[in-house]
């Protein structure tokens, strides 16, 4: 209990004094995860819409696979990305290992299946509703996908938030591909793991509270931007 209280107070003071190291780590966490979220959404939303609209041979298999990959173990993803990016790996020449870019790549791979699966669920329902109308209007495949993505944007926001939640709290993959290097690839979760290992429970807890605060703040911010709570329409 003492640890918890001292962690809380330490977190409070770290934030009030805007501790430069904390700010740096927190901002890097945000930057990495938000970048991964944007890239993953750009991949997952059109993929989800395509899976709803188009009928092709491997459609069901891909959907089942995406659902299964929602539970992708981050450590394994990290390991695979590591192998690809390491000096002797196929993408070694890019020199990306132990950079924030490598962390973004790993997080993107982890959350694409999650976002795509949730997005596909809601887009599929909307497609069932719109199907006859859009077929009747003779719209192109692109227009169908565009219409469905735009009209289910609130549900897609929820999908994106789920992806954000998974990415911001993720430690296994970014630890492996980022290396938790001070001032380079250290983020909140890897810092927490490090401080816990060193026995600095109060500092680790403080970082933990900051992480939770950050996640909540981003969620509230996005909800407020999307005005999802207004009027409850759609």
């Amino acid at each position: 209990m003492v640890d918890l209280w001292s962690g809380l107070s330490q977190a409070f003071w770290l934030m009030v004094t805007l501790d430069p190291e904390l700010v740096e780590i927190a901002l890097r966490s945000l930057r990495v995860t938000l970048s991964a979220l944007v890239v993953a959404s750009l991949i997952a939303f059109p993929l989800a819409a395509m899976l709803a609209v188009r009928r092709f041979r491997w459609r069901r298999t891909i959907i089942a696979l995406l659902n299964a990959l929602m539970g992708l173990p981050p450590v394994v993803v990290g390991l695979i990305v590591y192998v690809f990016l390491s000096r002797s790996g196929p993408l070694g020449v890019l020199g990306l290992l132990f950079t924030p870019t490598a962390m973004i790549i790993a997080q993107t791979i982890i959350i694409v299946p999650l976002i795509a699966s949730i997005a596909h669920q809601s887009i599929r329902e909307l497609w069932a509703e719109y199907h006859d109308l859009l077929i009747s209007m003779n719209v192109t495949e692109w227009q169908k996908m565009h219409t469905l993505i735009w009209d289910s944007r609130r549900a897609l926001l929820t999908a994106a938030l789920a992806g954000f939640g998974r990415a911001i709290g993720e430690v296994g993959a970014i630890m492996i591909v980022g290396g938790n290097i001070d001032h380079a690839t250290r983020v909140l979760t890897t810092a927490i793991a490090l401080e816990t290992g060193k026995g600095e429970f109060a500092l680790a807890l403080a970082l933990g509270f900051v992480l939770i605060g950050l996640a909540v703040a981003v969620n509230l911010g996005i909800h407020w931007l999307g005005r999802t709570e207004r009027g409850g329409r759609w």
Partner: protein, 237 residues
């Protein structure tokens, strides 16, 4: 002049999972005016309209427009029995068909607002379409179909479950569209409406055109006993 007509349908059949929904149908659609499709439930009214419009599978036979199929698909519209509302505002619903045809946003919105004004939806432009009443939704679906100035318009019981006033408003819109030269094909189960609007009648029975003719002739004395019974209000099975 209507590019799409005449429409020639020969022995067209629509089947789904081995079950014949409608057909074989042979008919010719030409000229102007309103063709009303009547018949008991399950006779295939919806299937026939979908088949002609091209959203139901044509299992055998032919449906031949006077122009290439892509052009024909582009110049026709369909109003469903239960209006499908896009999850957008009234204005954006009405403007949608123009937008997908590449009309600039400002112009599409202006024309949509104009149409909405004409049918009394002018005060509701910014409302989400999904919260409109049934009559308002059907009117919106109607102007969304008419905004592309289709040459042929199909309507599947557009006034089902609407009250007198909404029905009259919709009939006025339909008559105005006919006078502008749009060829209308609609199904209805309301014989009063059929008599008010029809220039030509198709009586559908068990998936086939059982009886048909110009409205005056048909309503005065249908040739078949089933059509006579149906007009009398008897149950025809």
């Amino acid at each position: 002049m209507n590019r799409l007509l005449p429409l020639a349908v020969t022995e067209a059949v629509s089947r789904k999972r081995g079950q014949t929904l409608v057909g074989p149908i042979s008919l010719r659609l030409e000229g102007q005016g309103i063709t009303v499709v009547i018949g008991p439930n399950g006779a295939g009214k919806t299937s026939l309209l979908s088949l002609l419009h091209g959203i139901a599978r044509l299992s055998s036979g032919t449906v031949q427009w006077a122009c290439p199929i892509e052009e024909a698909r582009h110049a026709q519209a369909f109003v469903f029995q239960r209006p499908v509302m896009l999850r957008r505002s009234v204005l954006e619903n009405a403007a949608y068909p123009l937008r997908i045809r590449g009309v600039a946003k400002a112009e599409a919105r202006a024309r949509a607002a104009d149409w909405a004004e004409q049918v009394g939806l002018g005060a509701l432009l910014e409302r989400p379409a999904t919260v409109l009443s049934g009559g308002e939704q059907q009117k919106l679906a109607l102007i969304r179909a008419l905004i592309i100035e289709p040459e042929v318009l199909f309507l599947d019981e557009p006034c089902a479950s609407l009250d007198g006033r909404a029905m009259r408003e919709i009939e006025e819109i339909l008559l105005a569209a006919r006078d502008r030269g749009t060829r209308l094909v609609m199904s209805t189960h309301d014989m009063g409406q059929a008599r008010r609007l029809a220039d030509e009648v198709l009586f559908l029975f068990r998936g086939r055109i059982h009886d048909s003719g110009p409205a005056g002739v048909f309503f005065d004395g249908p040739a078949t006993p089933q059509a006579r019974a149906f007009l009398r209000g008897d149950i025809v099975e």
